[in-house]
Symmetry: C2
Subunit: 210 residues, 2 copies
């Protein structure tokens, strides 16, 4: 039985505090061995029925990166157009993606109908497969931060267009587009809070009891 | 800038290895202070646009627990009926929920249309709010394990029925039903692997390159 020390518990909470959505990267490359080590966290994540439905696409070529960036630009322009004047001005100043400078870019998909796990736990909630992929991404995110890397999760994308542009099967759903690299600066405070877009709650909302 | 030691990195991976889906609990109660400490992990999780859309319902009353268990039983009977003979025999032997004995039971919802975050990052992928909730659940899961607790995620439920039974708003989606308590035994190997339902992959599938 594996016990964890008080020091470790404290450091784990520090890790969660210092894990941020990073959008400003240094140009320095990431050692492929280090990336692989962090990617091992995927396999330690929970998955419904042991279905392990995560599919990881390294977006490396100039062509694939350009198409992904164009996808972001279109979705971001649409989002901007949906805000009223004051919010639109602030939105336009936000840096919402590291896709122009992150050395590592990964598109993470869920194979919706994988036979692995024989559907256990996913009959009434088929979205559990996507949630398994999110659990794996969160594990990877904490691992990257423990090794000093930064990760940014881009969701301002047309997911169907991206799957099409990357020439991937129809039964794969985009869950996340991840930018990974060495962060330019590190902070405990989310950038959206710093610029005044939104604040985190001071404390967890009271539990509702039933 | 917060750096993490090699010892911490190793222990973090141990934590991920030892985090399991626990379905066998001791009857011992969980100190409410410890539960609150673990729940703090929710607030350290990433959320799209800082929307913090997680809503946590403590399922405490005998009535609410009975309705939730009945929901599980019905969904589990339906799932069993969908398997062929050999798999059905094995499925029937599996213990898939700790709902009969876990001292703490939490239903975790996502408020789909929270105004918090003003929709940032969720225009083309509104499912990002549910993914934020999953990230928070994963943070909580790792926190509980660091403190020696066990957690089991039950997904064999009709999510709409559960929301109805717990008398919660229509714009809340069930993401997870969590059983929390002191585990009866601890192991590195998932129970589904031990009983031969499914195996984890020996290594992470090769990255696909684009």
């Amino acid at each position: 039985m594996r016990k964890f020390s008080q020091d470790f518990q404290t450091e784990l909470y520090d890790l969660m505090k210092w894990r941020r959505d990073v959008r400003h990267f240094k140009p320095d490359p990431v050692d492929p061995e280090l990336l692989r080590l962090c990617l091992n966290a995927f396999q330690m994540a929970p998955s419904v029925g042991l279905s392990e439905p995560w599919r990881i696409v390294a977006v490396n070529s100039a062509d694939a990166r350009q198409k992904s960036l164009d996808n972001f630009k279109a979705a971001n322009a649409d989002a901007l157009a949906g805000y009223g004047k004051g919010q639109a001005e602030l939105y336009a100043t936000l840096k919402l993606t590291g896709m122009r400078d992150a050395p590592v870019q990964l598109a993470i998909f869920c194979e919706e109908d994988t036979p692995k796990g024989s559907g256990l736990g996913a009959q009434t909630m088929p979205e559990m497969r996507r949630y398994s992929v999110v659990s794996a991404i969160m594990s990877f995110w904490l691992a990257t931060r423990a090794y000093g890397l930064g990760l940014g999760w881009v969701s301002i994308l047309d997911p169907v267009q991206l799957r099409h542009d990357l020439d991937l099967p129809d039964n794969w759903s985009l869950v996340a587009y991840l930018c990974v690299g060495w962060p330019k600066e590190e902070t405990e405070t989310p950038e959206l809070e710093t610029v005044g877009w939104e604040m985190r709650d001071a404390q967890l909302t009271t539990l509702i009891e039933r």
